[in-house]
């Protein structure tokens, strides 16, 4: 992989309206071998940038057609679907692009990190196993994805929660001591132990400091002899070890060491992570002490890098508090949360809280797009881009002052270009919507109101970039016509292979409720959703279906043929409880026949649905 890295050149200054050139924007590819170097660079770029765009490549997105986020989903059900996917699938690549918009220029530093959840510390972390969706892998293969690079050389990582549990279990080889409280009433044994060590330390310090007779300043022999006599060295500094046999003794020793000014204490852990000894290092002066402290910090950092791996990048983004730009934030950030922060919480509101804590400002390009009317229907990034290109003249320069790779080396390895597309699209939109941040202000201030209104909106408008993999979208409703979840009914038990059109014509006139205007769409092969524009109709239909009380006509026939139906509540339930079957009809059938006791969502989930549901009971049915 090293062939990727070394050569540097200034590349890719191309005008945005030259499409042929766009393809040549390259992200810097980062694997295990050049990670440290790239990390230092990107930290700097993150600091200097206005925004950070992110985009990732996953091992899959959904396990069954109905389990992807659809336009029939409320924010809540969408979250449960996204959560399920984020827990199952793996990130293979994570592209990060810190960028700034300066007048008509975008300065971007795209990096593409290859990830693999290798168990570097032998702790069964970060991920015991993960799922792969074959259609995903196949399409990645078409794009020239190199699975060997990813698996052999991918960077590993631990989430914040995993890191703390890992630290408990391995104990870092040298852990520095942080001040301990001293509310101890020493026993007799304690004071004996203390007295003995104190005098030991004092003698040792005296011996070390004992000025060497001035006459032999150059006497190397004497020095080395002293070393021999005084024992261990920590680097170039003398040190001694104090054996201890309990946590209590550690505290005692530490407290006692406060009496001496030039000492730094380190705890040497034993195999199980408990303390084995305290190592005391003698520094020669105040500066020297500071120097040593810095050295130790570096050591700790190196250790952290080993443990955290790629998460260092995520942490750097989080620390910067810069606005993050992404496409389909719900997808992207459920993954980020579950892989790099902590396991996903049980409810959307908790998730939002937890996420906002780490990333205060998240901008979904998808939402900004909606500002431009005709783009409401844009299904993918490329579609949106080409529309903008046709309709608007945006004199925008994309500058990547990046040490990229020479063209030959890079051929076919244009991974992570999505992040650049997002960057570019976002910059264009800012320009068109005139919300470009003025160049010399700090970002958080100048994120004016307009921009703020886009922030942290997670409503999933469409199903992601990869949607085209499995072919046709399956749901569409009248544009932006809103419908309450109460006016929806899920129906199944009809002959498989019936299209929505056929179903609609079969339903029409089969019962009074179907005399008014209604819509039928297939959610998956097995299950259809009926949208009533007349309030209350759905309820009537469901009552008829459950009681079977219907005079005659088509509907009766269909009920005896196995037609079944439930309302939206049941759908919400199966999403919340994660009762995922391979087709929706099966899930609904099981749940409606023998309701599952709601142990899983016993806690805050309820609150969420009670409090916020009312605000959210309107679904915007979008053309997919």
């Amino acid at each position: 992989m090293s062939r990727f890295l070394q050569r540097r050149f200034l590349c890719s200054r191309s005008r945005s309206n030259q499409s042929s050139k766009q393809q040549q924007w390259k992200a810097k590819q980062v694997t295990k071998s050049n990670f440290s170097e790239a990390l230092e660079e990107i930290k700097k770029h993150i600091q200097d940038s206005d925004f950070i765009a992110v985009s990732s490549q996953k091992s899959g997105a959904f396990s069954a057609p109905w389990r992807r986020v659809l336009s029939i989903d409320t924010l809540e059900t969408a979250y449960f679907k996204a959560k399920d996917a984020a827990e199952k699938f793996q990130l293979f690549q994570f592209a990060v692009c810190p960028f700034s918009i300066k007048e008509s220029k975008v300065i971007a530093f795209p990096y593409n990190f290859h990830l693999f959840p290798r168990d570097e510390l032998n702790l069964g972390m970060p991920s015991y196993s993960f799922s792969c969706q074959t259609s995903y892998l196949t399409s990645m293969a078409w794009e020239g994805f190199d699975f060997n690079v990813c698996i052999y050389d991918g960077i590993s990582y631990l989430s914040r929660v995993q890191e703390s549990s890992a630290k408990d279990r391995i104990g870092s080889p040298i852990s520095r001591i942080h001040p301990v409280k001293s509310s101890l009433t020493p026993s007799v044994a304690d004071s004996v132990f203390l007295e003995r060590t104190r005098s030991r330390v004092r003698h040792w310090i005296n011996a070390c400091k004992d000025p060497i007779p001035k006459k032999g300043t150059d006497d190397a022999l004497v020095k080395s002899l002293r070393k021999l006599i005084l024992g261990e060295m920590f680097g170039a500094r003398p040190c001694m070890s104090i054996d201890i046999c309990s946590e209590r003794q550690v505290e005692l020793v530490l407290e006692m060491l406060n009496e001496f000014s030039d000492l730094i204490a380190l705890i040497i852990p034993d195999k199980s992570g408990g303390p084995k000894a305290v190592r005391v290092v003698l520094t020669s002066s105040e500066e020297d002490k500071k120097l040593l402290e810095r050295e130790l910090e570096n050591l700790e950092e190196e250790e952290n890098r080993r443990v955290r791996g790629f998460r260092e990048v995520i942490d750097a983004i989080s620390v910067s508090q810069k606005p993050i730009v992404a496409y389909n934030c719900l997808d992207e950030f459920t993954f980020i949360h579950s892989k790099f922060l902590a396991p996903l919480p049980k409810s959307m509101s908790e998730f939002m809280c937890s996420l906002r804590f780490a990333f205060p400002c998240i901008l979904d390009v998808n939402h900004v797009l909606k500002e431009i009317g005709p783009l409401k229907k844009a299904k993918s990034l490329p579609a949106a881009m080409s529309y903008l290109k046709r309709q608007f003249f945006v004199p925008l320069d994309m500058e990547i002052p990046h040490h990229g790779f020479s063209e030959q080396e890079h051929e076919g390895k244009n991974h992570g270009h999505n992040v650049l597309r997002i960057t570019h699209l976002f910059a264009k939109l800012c320009f068109i919507l005139k919300v470009t941040p003025a160049s010399n202000q700090t970002v958080n201030d100048d994120l004016d109101n307009a921009m703020e209104s886009y922030a942290n909106n997670f409503y999933p408008y469409s199903t992601g970039l990869q949607e085209l993999i499995d072919g046709e979208g399956m749901l569409w409703m009248d544009n932006s016509r809103k419908v309450s979840t109460e006016d929806l009914a899920f129906l199944w038990g009809f002959k498989t292979g019936m299209s929505a059109g056929v179903l609609k014509s079969v339903f029409r006139g089969s019962h009074d409720v179907f005399s008014e205007d209604f819509e039928v769409r297939l959610v998956d092969e097995s299950c259809a959703i009926v949208v009533f524009w007349t309030p209350g109709s759905a309820k009537v239909l469901l009552n008829v279906l459950s009681s079977g009380m219907v005079g005659s006509g088509g509907l009766k026939e269909m009920i005896s043929g196995g037609l079944r139906g439930v309302g939206y509540e049941i759908y919400k339930r199966i999403c919340r409880l994660g009762l995922w079957e391979s087709n929706l009809a099966e899930s609904l059938e099981r749940e409606s026949e023998e309701p599952t006791p709601d142990v899983v969502g016993a806690d805050p989930t309820k609150d969420w649905s009670d409090i916020d549901w009312s605000n959210d009971s309107m679904i915007k049915l979008e053309d997919l």
């Binding site: 069954a64 793996q90 074959t134 078409w142 072919g471 994660g578 087709n583 023998e594 142990v599």
Partner: protein, 721 residues
């Protein structure tokens, strides 16, 4: 779009293999395995057919993307054979096979040696058919993937070029769908355009387009009728219209090929044809390169039109069959092995055969007996070299205490092949010669050394088997081409016997479905655990995580007496098996736990068990509960999470069931005790014929209750004192 990257991938793959194949020219000893991907699959399959037909036996080996989907799914000493099967089943259902090694061995009497043909198939469960069904998905265990990477497994070859497959069940489904598909379509073509009728011509663009098409088709048709003798004028016209039309012949009829229309436009065209032209038909067919083509065909009469439709239908049918055959791909290898009824050799291969069944035949049955009998029908002869090495006395003497892992056995039994120098060890023994043939290269001294490549592992397995046969006195020189090795009486002791559970030594007989303990076992760890008595086991999960096994045992001993707990075994940090000395304690414990949880009085709080129940998330069940949890399809990483997710369903079952004997203890909907009771009663029904199960009646249950009550009394006294 698709082609260029594929080409690149191909180049990459070829580079990889040429690296391996480089020594071709130089010597005989180190050419590569026969690497089979989708590019050379068809020819390789043909070669393999011949080799398998001539073979005396065929050894196999599989590489998968993982083994266990959660740490607690690993194999424990506490796993009864049926639980062990459930774990194997879970593994086979979740993980993918990425490499399949097949190595036919044929005895060459003239050279007094075996000839082996190692094949290494890269397999990938690509979705080849255009159906929308449940998406193909498989699990990867991170450590297994890392292990494969360590042995330089080529993941690119696998994903880019791996051979796909369909199981027999999937194939039948696919056929069904294809039939449905074109039946539907043809009925549509037969003038009942349900869907098409639904399109109203709203936009003016559509109206204009429809008009234009109408004129175009009329012009073409009229041209045909006029020019039956002369050349076509239309050809010239079509050039003008962006070559969207091209006159061709379809089944001896003039036709227009439609190109470059959107699907919406095509639907409008269908509409026009149906409404305006009785003598034209719109059809969808497959051309030479199986590219889909849309044609408008001219027919002489209604009869001719019907005839055309029939021909089109046949064409679609043929195309569907071709596609299905292409999608079945790798399964042809399995079908070949099955139909030839050859002796199959594997090493510790129970998991392998479960994979073979679930990937290439159909979903695995829920009971092991059903699985093995079904497998046995398809593969009547199979010998496990692990079983052979461990149970045959003659070989045991040779192996001494050596490990029976594949590579160790290979090195020990076949040193002349394992180490190219050949001069090592046991000179007084006769070694069989094995020649290896890959394509046109042949060597009697071959060692690709690619350990953990399925093809090479299959080769090693075959060598170990051949050598072992030699040691148990099978003389291949007496072998005539007509003798079937599988019928050799010396092999019968080992025929169809597989280790079901390696660490507990349970052996399953594929022909009868019987499970027997390994009699000739010299297990080092024999005494590490006391005998496992399944009825005496309580499964406990969700207890406070700091609770150590010793404390757990102390807790229980305080209640049930110092000798009551035989052993405590942690599945993971959230769950433990407790084996009691007597079966009664199991029920006693469960009831006591229940009682303590229900009462919140000081007595319960001070009870020694309360330490165990701290946090209120502690649950317990008997061994059957464990089995239930293992049979669940999902896999949470921690056992407690898994149990809780399954628990939802367990409880659901309870409510619907007649609780019978436990009527005295109704209420408390979340009581696991209910489950215990109901599972016992179900057991009565299911397992009456099985002597290994102890029938547990309602009376005993209430008896146990009384015991508990009296003990409870005692305990309270104790704690008060």
């Amino acid at each position: 779009m698709k082609k260029a990257p594929l080409g690149r991938a191909l180049v990459f793959v070829l580079h990889g293999s040429s690296f391996k194949h480089r020594p071709f020219s130089s010597a005989t000893s180190t050419f590569g395995l026969k690497k089979v991907t989708k590019t050379n699959f068809d020819s390789a399959l043909e070669d393999l057919r011949g080799h398998v037909r001539d073979a005396d036996f065929v050894s196999i080996d599989l590489e998968m993307t993982g083994v266990t989907s959660a740490p607690w799914r690993e194999f424990f000493e506490f796993d009864r054979y049926d639980v062990r099967y459930l774990k194997v089943k879970d593994s086979a259902e979740k993980f993918a096979v990425v490499q399949f090694g097949v190595c036919p061995f044929r005895w060459d009497a003239s050279r007094e040696s075996f000839v082996a043909h190692p094949y290494n198939f890269y397999v990938f469960p690509r979705k080849e058919l255009p159906f929308d069904g449940p998406s193909y998905e498989f699990l990867c265990q991170t450590t297994s993937i890392d292990f494969l990477a360590k042995y330089q497994f080529d993941f690119n070859a696998c994903v880019h070029e791996g051979v796909s497959y369909l199981s027999r069940t999937q194939e039948a489904e696919a056929r069904c769908r294809f039939n449905l598909g074109y039946e539907d379509e043809l009925s549509n073509l037969g003038c009942q355009f349900k869907e098409v009728r639904d399109i109203p011509l709203i936009s003016t663009v559509d109206v204009l387009f429809t008009e234009r098409m109408k004129n175009r088709f009329r012009e073409w048709r009229d041209g045909l009728l006029r020019n039956t003798k002369g050349g076509s004028q239309f050809e010239g016209n079509s050039n003008g219209s962006k070559q969207q039309f091209q006159t061709v012949f379809f089944k001896m009829r003039p036709a227009l090929m439609l190109m470059g229309f959107t699907s919406h436009q095509l639907r409008l065209i269908q509409l026009v044809i149906r409404q305006q032209f009785k003598d034209l038909a719109y059809v969808r067919v497959y051309g030479e390169d199986s590219f889909e083509q849309k044609l408008v065909v001219y027919t002489d009469s209604e009869d001719d039109k019907d005839l055309l439709m029939q021909e089109v239908k046949d064409g679609l049918h043929k195309e569907a069959e071709r596609k299905i055959k292409a999608a079945v791909a790798f399964r042809h290898v399995i079908d070949l092995l099955s139909s030839e009824r050859k002796l199959l050799i594997g090493h510790n291969c129970f998991l392998d055969i479960a994979h073979i069944y679930s990937k290439f035949f159909g979903p695995l049955p829920s009971a092991v007996e059903e699985f093995v009998s079904s497998f046995h029908e398809k593969f009547p002869y199979i010998v496990d070299t692990k079983h052979l090495l461990r149970t045959n006395n003659a070989i045991q003497n040779l192996m001494k205490k050596n490990s029976t892992s594949l590579s160790a056995a290979f090195a020990h039994l076949c040193p002349q092949i394992a180490c190219a120098s050949g001069a090592s060890a046991l000179p007084h023994l006769s070694y069989l010669k094995v020649e290896v043939q890959v394509d046109d290269m042949r060597s009697s001294n071959w060692n690709s050394g690619a350990k953990h490549e399925a093809g090479y592992d299959a080769f090693m397995t075959g060598c170990v088997f051949a050598q072992a046969c030699n040691h148990i006195g099978i003389d291949f020189n007496l072998h005539s081409p007509s003798t079937v090795l599988a019928h050799n009486e010396k092999l019968q002791k080992h025929m169809n016997l597989l280790y079901l559970s390696w660490n507990t030594g349970a052996i399953i007989d594929l022909s009868s479905g019987k499970v027997t303990p390994d009699s000739s076992r010299f297990h080092v760890n024999k005494h590490r655990y006391p005998n496992v008595v399944f009825q005496n086991i309580v499964l406990l999960w969700g207890f406070p995580s700091k609770l150590k096994p010793r404390e757990l045992r102390e807790c229980l001993s305080k209640v049930f007496g110092p000798e009551s707990v035989t052993s405590v075994y942690y599945l993971d940090k959230t769950a433990a098996f407790i084996q009691f000395s007597k079966e009664e304690f199991v029920t006693a414990f469960l009831v006591l736990k229940e009682t303590l949880e229900r009462n919140n009085d000081p007595i319960s709080v001070l009870h020694p068990l309360s330490k165990l129940l701290e946090g209120g998330r502690t649950h317990a069940g008997n061994y059957e509960v464990y089995k239930q949890i293992c049979s669940s399809a999902n896999s949470k990483i921690l056992f407690a999470d898994q149990a809780n997710s399954v628990g939802i369903k367990l409880r659901k079952e309870l409510d619907t069931q007649e609780l019978g004997s436990s009527s005295g203890m109704s209420g408390a909907g979340n009581s696991i005790l209910h489950f215990v009771a109901s599972s016992e009663s179900r057991k009565c029904n299911d397992m009456l014929n099985d002597p290994s199960y102890r029938h547990f009646s309602g009376d005993e249950m209430t008896d146990a209750l009384y015991i508990i009550k009296s003990q409870l009394g005692k305990q309270t006294r104790n704690t008060k004192l």
